[in-house]
């Protein structure tokens, strides 16, 4: 994937999508769909953060949603118990707390190799889920965090409205996700991104040229968890609620599927994957209760037949045309 600068078509598409997204809440009469697209943007950010880990660093996290959950809970707890005056401060607190949790976990995880790393994400993810579910006095247990204050949203110094206003929340989410996307794009196409990709391609060779593999894996992990924390704080502002359900193993599989659907290692693919996944889930869950089986079957089929997802399609078409 070339850098955005020398990819005018990509730039144009991004701009077009952005304009459409900005206009959307004003032309769409149905609030339900505005909120659905809002949710898509949040999960797109989460899927993109998982792609930093999976597609660029070559590390698999089964329960990346755990860090969305931690971000959501800590932002919510900050709003409830500390100060609900500034939404930015609450988000900052959420992200910092997520990073503080992710650091020791990541430190332990990068000491092992790729496979054990993946297994450990599952174990730690389940641990966080257990804590969110059982630590009743702090997290509210099964009921989750309730009675959250709705802070005033501000974007670039402009006070939008309370986070309960769906249009304001939508624009706020769009702004934050866009900034995160551009930031991540910049990082991935910097020398640091090249180092991460080198680790993905061949860990041993990367260490031979003097790269401290463990340290850079940890950097990739922290970047991914920080972005997931941002997604988490957006999530709780948007939902006004967080329960242990968002941290479950099944949700984690969903995020993985978004990345697979979109195609790993492209950064924009998972954004598309998140959109497809959430629309599909919305559609399928209205049809059948056994949604689980379909998720599993789709994951299996994707791995077997379309391992590079939507992002792999242009390549596939080009090759088909050449033949």
């Amino acid at each position: 994937m070339r850098a955005l600068k020398d990819n005018p078509a990509g730039k144009l598409i991004l701009l077009g999508v952005l304009v459409c997204l900005v206009i959307l809440p004003f032309v769409l009469p149905n609030r339900f769909y505005v909120r659905l697209v809002n949710e898509i943007m949040i999960y797109a950010l989460l899927a993109m953060s998982l792609d930093v880990l999976l597609g660029y660093t070559g590390l698999l996290s089964f329960m990346h949603n755990a860090y969305l959950g931690i971000g959501a809970y800590s932002t919510g707890l900050f709003l409830m118990h500390a100060w609900s005056g500034s939404v930015w401060l609450a988000m900052l607190a959420g992200v910092l707390f997520t990073l503080a949790v992710a650091l020791p976990v990541g430190w332990v995880q990068v000491r092992t190799g790729g496979l054990a790393f993946a297994l450990l994400t599952l174990a730690f993810g389940m641990m966080f889920y257990t804590v969110a579910w059982k630590w009743y006095p702090v997290t509210g247990g099964d009921d989750g965090l309730m009675g959250l204050p709705q802070p005033t949203l501000s974007l670039l110094g402009i006070n939008l409205a309370s986070s309960g206003n769906s249009t304001a929340m939508y624009l706020f989410t769009l702004g934050v996700v866009l900034v995160c996307f551009l930031f991540t794009w910049r990082v991935i196409h910097s020398p640091l991104g090249a180092v991460l990709e080198a680790i993905r391609e061949n860990e041993e060779r990367a260490s031979f040229v003097g790269i401290n593999v463990r340290r850079y894996k940890l950097v990739g992990w922290m970047l991914a968890c920080g972005l997931a924390g941002v997604a988490g704080s957006l999530y709780i502002l948007y939902r006004g609620y967080a329960g242990p359900g968002v941290m479950g193993a099944f949700e984690g599989a969903g995020v993985l599927m978004m990345v697979l659907l979109g195609g790993m290692g492209s950064l924009w693919g998972p954004l598309v994957g998140a959109a497809i996944f959430i629309f599909m889930k919305d559609f399928l869950s209205s049809l059948t209760q056994d949604w689980e089986i379909f998720v599993g079957v789709i994951v299996i089929l994707l791995v077997l037949f379309l391992p590079r997802g939507v992002a792999g399609l242009p390549d596939l078409l080009r090759r088909a045309k050449a033949e």
Partner: protein, 291 residues
């Protein structure tokens, strides 16, 4: 005398729990050692074993017969999975098989919910197993002792299989140098497939043994899957001896933690794992390197 009874109780319970972990962990390691596949559907196969066993007993079969039969059915399911899904992935990066078996886990879990429903099931045990017996100062349920004997029998059978039979020796050889085994004129593919099936049979056996202990429910495979990973990671990936040591250790820590902190018992187990990894990143007896 109370504390002696409690101690006996804890020791017996941790042996039972550790034994279940052992069968699961060894199964995962046998599959991994020969196929380089970490089977995330292992917990779902465990649940499948318990459900098959439940249905067999409900249809009037003796528990012990079901204990022999249900794992075989799971083994057949394993064979189908290997041929249909794992074989085509042989040349691909390990991340793909990991994700694939994760998807498979959801399919099996979903099918279990579809066919057996959400409610908790109980495997009907023979009359004599429903009593208690006194072990020293403590009284202990008979069925737990029977399960303990069952675990010991499985471990003995496994040792015989791996140590004394041609298949077992081929398996151990192929897990370290497959090229060499192949050069000796042995069909390595067949050995790999039998290792996968053997792992699945072990998962089914563990499920059938654990069924009477923890009851049979749709998500029973999730917790055990995580615990088995902890066992495999602590013991060292691919190391059978490591899995045995780690299983007993985890079983003991978890039983003790459940006794003292109840709700957060699993957190203690994860802490143990983190602690081991800090000092021995490859696990207690992990010789090879992680891939």
């Amino acid at each position: 005398m109370g504390w002696i009874a409690t101690t006996v109780d804890i020791i017996l319970n941790s042996l039972v729990l550790g034994g279940i972990f052992l069968i699961m962990g060894v199964g995962l390691n046998i599959i991994y050692g020969l196929n380089r596949v970490m089977n995330l559907a292992h917990g779902a196969l465990y649940a499948l074993g318990a459900y098959f066993g439940f249905t067999m007993v409900a249809l009037g079969l003796n528990y012990f017969l079901a204990l022999l039969l249900a794992p075989v059915v799971v083994g057949v399911a394993g064979l189908i999975i290997e041929r249909l899904l794992i074989s085509p992935m042989r040349k691909r990066h390990m991340i793909y098989t990991l994700i694939l078996t994760y998807g498979l886990m959801f399919v099996i879990d979903g099918l279990i919910k579809f066919f057996w429903g959400q409610e908790t099931r109980f495997i009907q045990l023979p009359e004599f197993m429903q009593q208690t017996v006194s072990v020293g100062p403590a009284s202990y349920p008979v069925f737990r002792l029977v399960i303990l004997i069952g675990i010991a029998a499985v471990v003995a059978a496994l040792m015989l299989l791996l140590g004394r039979t041609r298949l077992g020796i081929n398996m151990r050889a192929a897990s370290s140098i497959p090229e060499m085994v192949s050069a000796c004129g042995i069909n390595v593919r067949r050995v790999q497939i039998s290792a996968f099936v053997l792992g699945c049979i072990l998962a089914g056996t563990a499920g059938m043994l654990a069924g009477p202990l923890f009851t049979v429910f749709a998500l029973m495979g999730h917790d055990i899957l995580i615990s088995s990973f902890v066992v495999v990671v602590i013991g060292g990936l691919g190391s059978l001896r490591g899995a045995v040591v780690a299983a007993l250790l985890v079983g003991f820590v978890q039983t003790l933690a459940e006794f003292f902190v109840t709700d957060m018992a699993m957190v203690m187990v994860y802490m143990l794992m983190a602690l081991v990894l800090v000092f021995k990143p490859l696990g207690i007896l992990g010789e090879g390197k992680f891939e």
